[in-house]
Amino acid sequence: MGVYALKSMQGWRCERIRASGSLPLHFCLAVFLLNTGVCEEGASVRIEPNVEKVPANHLKFYLHFSEPMERGEAFRFLRLVEVNDSGKEIAEVPEPFREVELWDETFTRMTLWFHPGRQKPGVNLNVDIGPILEEGRSYRLEISPAWKTESGAKLGGSLEEVFEAAEMDDNQPDPASWGSGYGIDAKGRSVILIHTGETLDPESARRRIQVVVEGEAIDFEVRNNQLAFVPPQKKVDSFRVVIDPRLEDLAGNSVARPFNLDLDSNPNFQERTDPVELLFPRKIRLSGDSEFPGKVEKKKN
């Protein structure tokens, strides 16, 4: 038996179902198992970002598959529906996707774009058809189990992510407001956290941010509005974060420029082209350090 790694629903939706009515626990358990993708065979998929709310002008999801998928007809297997608080479908959202399949070099990650022409206020498709997401409403992104992998295996259960559309985000990411802290990762290790203030586009964050400790760029994990890294040694006196200005948030606003920039009304707008470098000079000690157990100094940048 394979267990799908789709984290999108997990417990919270079940809690919402229970909160909205008086459904018995075993029903919720069944919904939970369905939504976490427990199935008899097949591949797994994980949807990024995995957040309860996205801005109403959200641009894209990343579908991470455990093995290469069949390509060319992906949009037959993808659907966006508006749902009520109980998760019941209200209506299918028409024509939400920019129907171009964008795969990584391993064909295991597909970038799923909402149509930018509908997500940009005031442009033609946005005016003609309307926006894809409306603030305050809930939606479910569905992946059909009929979508096969290259090896012919099906994806198994009904795979989906429920999210709510929040206020539109027209603000550029602001690295000057970023802070740091510490936490524990899934393997129980102490990690240093960088709080980014908003959920960044996860692939953009992986590509455009560099965390440098003692002159060495080190791996980090993107956790919605946090970056987490395991320091190379227990005591880290300082580290640098170097940010390519092309770094984007969920609405496509980059450090360089807002996504929704009207060059007619801002003819002299200058994109930022040089990287942003943050120095975290504070003394950061990790949990388990007897000198400073479980605490971290907090300083403003």
Partner: protein, 377 residues
């Protein structure tokens, strides 16, 4: 000027230097061609096939040996997917792209075999027979798109032979961004492309767009200057001066025509009929098509619309298609091409003759497609 533009679009070419004898390739490799994936394809002169391999962020140019004589497709193929699948012994195939070789009339396909997604290149000759060409022993070069951009560019939206260069348009997977690559001839292994980002005024949006990707294009020459004439979603047609491509910079295009919102262009070519030259682009509508039986439709535009350069005729002042007049005087030279309703893929054989892969059932996305030779009006 117009004649040369037409020649470029038809895949004819001018002279070359430093190429291997009789070849458009330099230091070509013979044998060992493997494709990680297949995407858009296009023909150059003398059977030179350009294949985008998005899995390896590269473009392959291979001498197919398919140099004629010309045999045009004799009859309609009703179920092209079935014919191709049978030839490569797959359960089914998904057609990624199609290009007819003007030299031979043979229609070449890039496909993914099902199940398994194994890429394949197949050829349909004029007599309707499908073959699996053995390219393993052919001379080829693999042109990597610049490594600085490798991590980004995963989708070649179009590619074309441009006489003294191969032009490639691509877009990023992760960011809303576009690139135009120019690879000089003779073609050789490695990274030789110059590239730039394109900035365009979208007439329908009434805004400048710096990031929207070019969906399809043709090389174009006007008064000795070389351009890419590209079509974008929604659907401005703009021209970009190739001379201004410098690696890493931005080139500003001039929007010259707006075909209407809600469309995604698929192919583009030029033909001449009755003394009039036309630019054709077939597109897919995002929503139901109110003026035809299919989401797939095509428009033709008099070529004179491309030749404008003044500010009062470009960008915010560019000509817009009259959506209430599909044809006739009120259409003012921007017309719906009824012969191309349902055309999913179109490839030009010779002037007004095009090979069309067409829907057989607009209501059923899984229905097989038909292939036929069409003469445009």
């Amino acid at each position: 000027m117009k004649t040369l533009s037409l020649f470029l679009a038809m895949g004819l070419t001018v002279g070359f230097a430093n190429a291997d004898s009789g070849s458009h390739l330099k230091d070509a490799q013979t044998g060992g061609l493997e494709l990680k994936s297949v995407g858009k394809i296009s023909f150059g002169p003398e059977g030179l096939l350009l294949i985008s391999d998005p899995g390896s962020a590269s473009v392959v140019a291979v001498e197919t040996g398919d140099t004629g004589p010309l045999v045009k497709l004799a009859k309609r193929i009703d179920k092209i997917e079935g014919a191709l699948a049978q030839a490569c012994e797959a359960e089914n195939v998904l057609i990624v792209d199609m290009a007819v070789n003007p030299a031979s009339g043979t229609t070449w396909f890039s496909v993914n075999q099902r199940p398994g997604n194994k890429p394949a290149i197949l050829a349909l000759s004029g007599d309707g027979k499908v073959s699996v060409p053995d390219l393993s022993g052919r001379s080829y070069v693999r042109m990597n798109l610049p490594s600085a951009e490798n991590a980004k560019l995963r989708n070649v939206t179009d590619l074309a032979w441009g006489g003294d260069s191969v032009i490639v348009a691509g877009q990023s997977s992760e960011e809303f961004a576009n690139k135009i690559f120019q690879i000089p001839t003779p073609l050789e292994h490695g990274e030789n492309a110059r590239f730039a980002s394109a900035e365009t005024y979208h007439v329908a949006h009434r805004r400048w767009e710096t990031k929207a990707p070019i969906q399809s294009f043709i090389p174009w020459e006007e008064d000795g200057e070389h351009f890419v004439v590209g079509a974008f979603a929604c659907t401005p047609i703009a021209k970009f001066p190739l001379e201004k491509i410098e690696t890493g910079n931005k080139i500003k295009g001039s929007s010259v025509v707006e075909l209407g919102s809600g469309n995604r262009p698929r192919d583009m070519f030029i033909y001449e009929k009755g003394g009039e030259e036309w630019l054709v682009t077939n597109t897919q509508r995002f929503k139901k098509n109110l003026f035809g039986p299919s989401k797939f439709w095509a428009a033709r535009v008099k070529l004179e619309y491309l030749e404008v350069n003044d500010a009062d005729e470009t960008n915010e002042n560019a000509a817009r298609r009259n959506v209430n007049a599909p044809n006739g005087p009120d259409a003012k030279g921007m017309e719906v091409v009824e012969e191309l309703f349902g055309a999913v893929l179109v490839s030009q054989l010779e002037n007004a003759e095009v090979v069309v892969m067409r829907e057989t059932d607009p209501e059923n996305a899984e229905a097989p497609h038909a292939l036929e030779l069409v003469t445009l009006p």
